[in-house]
Symmetry: C2
Subunit: 363 residues, 2 copies
């Protein structure tokens, strides 16, 4: 992996990553001339026991791009700068101009509930220079590079004071609110372990204490033995529709052996994890012969410097579709009670995905 | 409140509620001639520590109604029965024909995670006979009746073995997946306290132990003193955009004094709660001069027979809109991490709702 670190004219960091050595002298562009002054704040919801972040300045965006403008395309004309420069890079990472969390956050308002500066960081990860491609269509070694990029970001963000949790994710498709179709993901670095990973870790610690092995490792072995919901099994990684899926086409992807976070993946594990990931993504797109919407989230250990033997790095895909033209809406029982109700059995949805043939080695 | 209890031809219960005495001899219709055999099951998600319910038979609905058929309209022609009979009733409640939870649930499959019959109950609450009306447009004494109906359902469901939590809610609008526009809500009766109310109760118990008063009662007093986010204050009830809103137009509605559940509301409290509720609903619809989509959930004490002095019955409204033509999508940070990110400040959204003038006493 080759990297170049740059600073944009507005003060934001940009890192370029390549499979090949990167050209020198690259300048970081920014569509925004003025320096970034992000000051999001947190408010405590005492009834749910959780923080909410408020970034009201996100509404004040004065920058109104033309309809066809793609800020994630490389800058072609210096008088109309985008977020990324030309060059032979494969993946680019930069700080979000309108972050929900920012290391620069300072004062927070006096309120009737606790408040705090929303320290943290929001990064944009451009997966490729090709606006018409997608994560699943990238070459296997390009996906492997992305896994290395996520490891590098995790290591860097871990070094930032106060960061407790690093979550790489991708929102894909208009169905999940994405209007920018250039292949990209995001990374949120939180100043606390957020509710969902916190609950997960609590379950994982309990299991580890009782069994001496990570919960997900044990569950994954059972899924592989049961076979019926498995989508991919390789030498180091697997993918399956979990027996307890909450979304009809939910899929989990992970290494066979437990690995606590991205920084601890071996090259062999990355190689097979890229194959597992590409298999799932190509099957999704081939299922209905069209781009499949999803939320992909990568869960790893908190970045508190502890070893976390209970954690097992993995991705969970939450597709919003329940059929070709039907969305699964989250409503009363899901949002208000937190109990998901499913019309579809995971076994049936796994069978549909198993039946889709894809060739991940096709260039 | 006047009630009539009936049994549908397929074995499901139907209860009619009226402000006036109800005619005798009413027969309960059903669009489904065959008896109900619902057998949903629960699966345990060990990584999130929560139950998910699976009701695969919901997909097998052979009943295909014509396009304009409204199953919640009164039966006009006995050869095409709907779910509710003609008569002078105001509110009707019946068991969902395709329930996610059912007292009839029996066997559950052997799986690699714990499973259980999905015991419980799902009810449909028809708010009015008028298909073109809405909850907010009902007369104040009709809304008061509905509050009594929710109390009656809570009491009845509490008496069903194994029911731990009763959640009345309304999903409203195509934006939250509702295709049937006849004014109606639902009630889920769970065999456990689901994750969201469980977390809420944990926070409420901690607060009560420390302060000797319910968390929401204390917070509501602070909201009323602060004034800036208040939408309604009456003699017994209030409504406000909470300081820690997770949705731009989120509103909470509750009694001023703590009341643990619907069954313990006094007539005076119901009267003012109906005024608070109607105020919020009319403001929502008047804001953009069109039907405002929302999820309305009523949180009350678990139905375990304990007194629950920590609980304070209230409704939370989660509207999916962030502007007239913009939805707030739940994506990466909300669904994967559980941390909500807000572009709008609750103070600004409260000001918008405060500026909308409505007349709840207009007949």
């Amino acid at each position: 992996m080759h990297t170049v670190e740059l600073i944009k004219p507005d003060g934001r960091e940009l890192t370029l990553y390549g499979r090949q050595p990167l050209a020198s002298g690259i300048q970081a562009p920014s569509p925004f001339p003025a320096p970034l002054h992000a000051n999001p704040h947190l408010r405590w919801n005492p009834l749910r026991g959780e923080w909410i972040t408020y970034a009201a300045y996100r509404q004040d965006r004065t920058f109104l791009p033309p309809r066809e403008y793609n800020p994630l395309a490389v800058t072609a004309d210096a008088s109309h700068p985008t977020e990324v420069p030309p060059g032979n890079w494969d993946v680019a990472v930069f700080e979000n101009r309108f972050p929900s969390l920012s290391t620069g956050a300072g004062a927070s308002p006096q309120l009737i509930v606790p408040s705090a500066p929303a320290k943290g960081r929001c990064e944009v990860v451009v997966f490729t220079q090709d606006a018409d491609s997608s994560l699943g269509e990238l070459a296997l070694d390009h996906i492997e590079l992305l896994l290395e990029v996520w490891a590098d970001r995790t290591a860097r963000l871990k070094a930032v004071t106060g960061i407790q949790y690093v979550l790489p994710f991708e929102n894909r498709g208009a169905e999940v609110g994405v209007t920018l179709h250039h292949p990209h993901g995001q990374i949120y670095a939180y100043p606390f372990v957020p509710p969902v990973p916190a609950r997960m870790q609590q379950c994982e610690i309990e299991h580890y204490r009782k069994n001496g092995s990570p919960l997900l490792t044990d569950l994954m072995r059972k899924e592989i033995d049961a076979k019926e919901r498995v989508i991919y099994v390789g030498t180091h990684a697997a993918a399956f529709v979990p027996v307890c899926a909450r979304y009809p086409y939910e899929v989990w992807v992970g290494t066979l052996e437990p690995v606590a976070d991205f920084t601890r993946l071996t090259a062999d594990q990355r190689r097979d994890l890229a194959r597992a990931l590409k298999t799932v993504l190509l099957k999704y797109d081939a299922l209905w012969q069209r781009r499949f919407p999803y939320l992909m989230a990568w869960y790893q250990a908190p970045t508190d410097g502890e070893p976390h033997p209970e954690c097992h790095l993995h991705a969970e895909f939450y597709p919003p579709s329940r059929a070709r033209d039907k969305l699964k809406y989250l409503a009363g029982t899901e949002l208000a009670a937190g109990m998901f109700a499913m019309d579809a059995l995971p076994e049936d949805k796994a069978r549909e995905l198993q039946a889709v043939k894809v060739d991940i080695d096709r260039p």
